[in-house]
Amino acid sequence: MAAQGSSIDALGQFQLHTALGPLGAAVNFTQSNLCMVAAGVLTLGLLWVGMRPRAMVPGRMQSAAEMAYEVVYSMCVDTIGPEGRAFFPFVFTLFFFILFGNLLGVWPYDFTFTSHIVVTLALTMVVFIMSTWVGLRIHGLHWFSYFVPQGVPKPLLPLLVPIEMLSYVSRIISLSVRLFANMMAGHVMLEVFGAFVVMLGTAGVIFWIPSGLAFAVNVALIGFEILVATLQAYVFAILTCIYLHDAVHLH
């Protein structure tokens, strides 16, 4: 599917098509949606199966579930402060939705829903609207003092306040594009090197060595992708925490 004729179709993997046969086609349920459901089910499954033994000394699954909880919890409290406990469920959901979405995408034949900017932009809009709303709820109109930098001469304010506002709004783009670009770039690279393997491997015996090299690169890339998948989910979650911190504490 990667190498069609002599050209590499690196972006075809991001095309949506309906899943689950005629039922999915009737309601436009795509493979992207299917992976989202799978990510949700896997998160719930990790917690449910992991916490079922309720052992004093946890086993492997229970350790994983407890660690998942603790990592996100400490991230919330460390970054936002004591108020972060209120946002823990939100950040936990977000982190694990993205983490499982990214990791499922590395699995062969699976779809990476975070490689579509629509998805990441929607997630970012939720974060952005929520942090703005939290700031307005806590501080009222005083929240707008967030855009006034401290220790700046008055005449400069008409210039600096719009810059601060633009910087605030640009979070939408930077947060969504970071996740989207990382995931898409990784999968394009995988596809390109996968196509190299097939094209060189079928070109003749003398090309088997370069083909093997491309395959080795692909193996390394898979490992790298797993790292990127985890790291980007973490980055998204911690940036959400930082934005919520700004909303709660103003500066």
């Binding site: 460390d78 401290q150 633009l166 910087s167 640009s170 939408i172 980055v235 500066h251």
Partner: protein
């Protein structure tokens, strides 16, 4: 096992446990709260991508707003011209905020 603090001699069980855990390296030292970047992109690629995204995202927003306002208010793209400059400045501000030296915890760096 008695773990009340008023145990006869020597430090209490809690303290001994804490000391033992520290010796074994089981207790991680408390992290500083000022981890803005949170280990984001320590590799050159990560830093480059981060700077690029921060710079461009502000510009994208500014151009979108400026273009919209210029369409709304007349023929000359004066808003676009102004907002491109503001967007560039906001992009630099974003980058500065990521890599600013943390002179005081959790405070945004004072303006240039």
């Amino acid at each position: 096992m008695s773990d009340d603090p008023g145990d006869d001699d020597g430090p209490s069980f809690e303290e001994r446990l804490k000391a033992a855990r520290r010796r074994q390296g089981l207790d991680t030292p408390p992290r500083s709260p000022g981890m803005e970047t949170g280990g984001l992109g320590q590799s050159p690629w990560g830093i480059g991508l981060r700077v690029g995204i921060e710079l461009v995202s502000a510009l994208v927003v500014a151009v979108a707003i400026g273009y919209g306002l210029s369409l709304l208010f007349g023929a000359r793209p004066i808003f676009l011209a102004v907002f491109v400059l503001l967007g560039g400045a906001a992009g630099v501000l974003n980058v500065w905020r990521v890599f600013a030296p943390k002179q005081d915890e959790r405070r945004r760096p004072p303006g240039p």
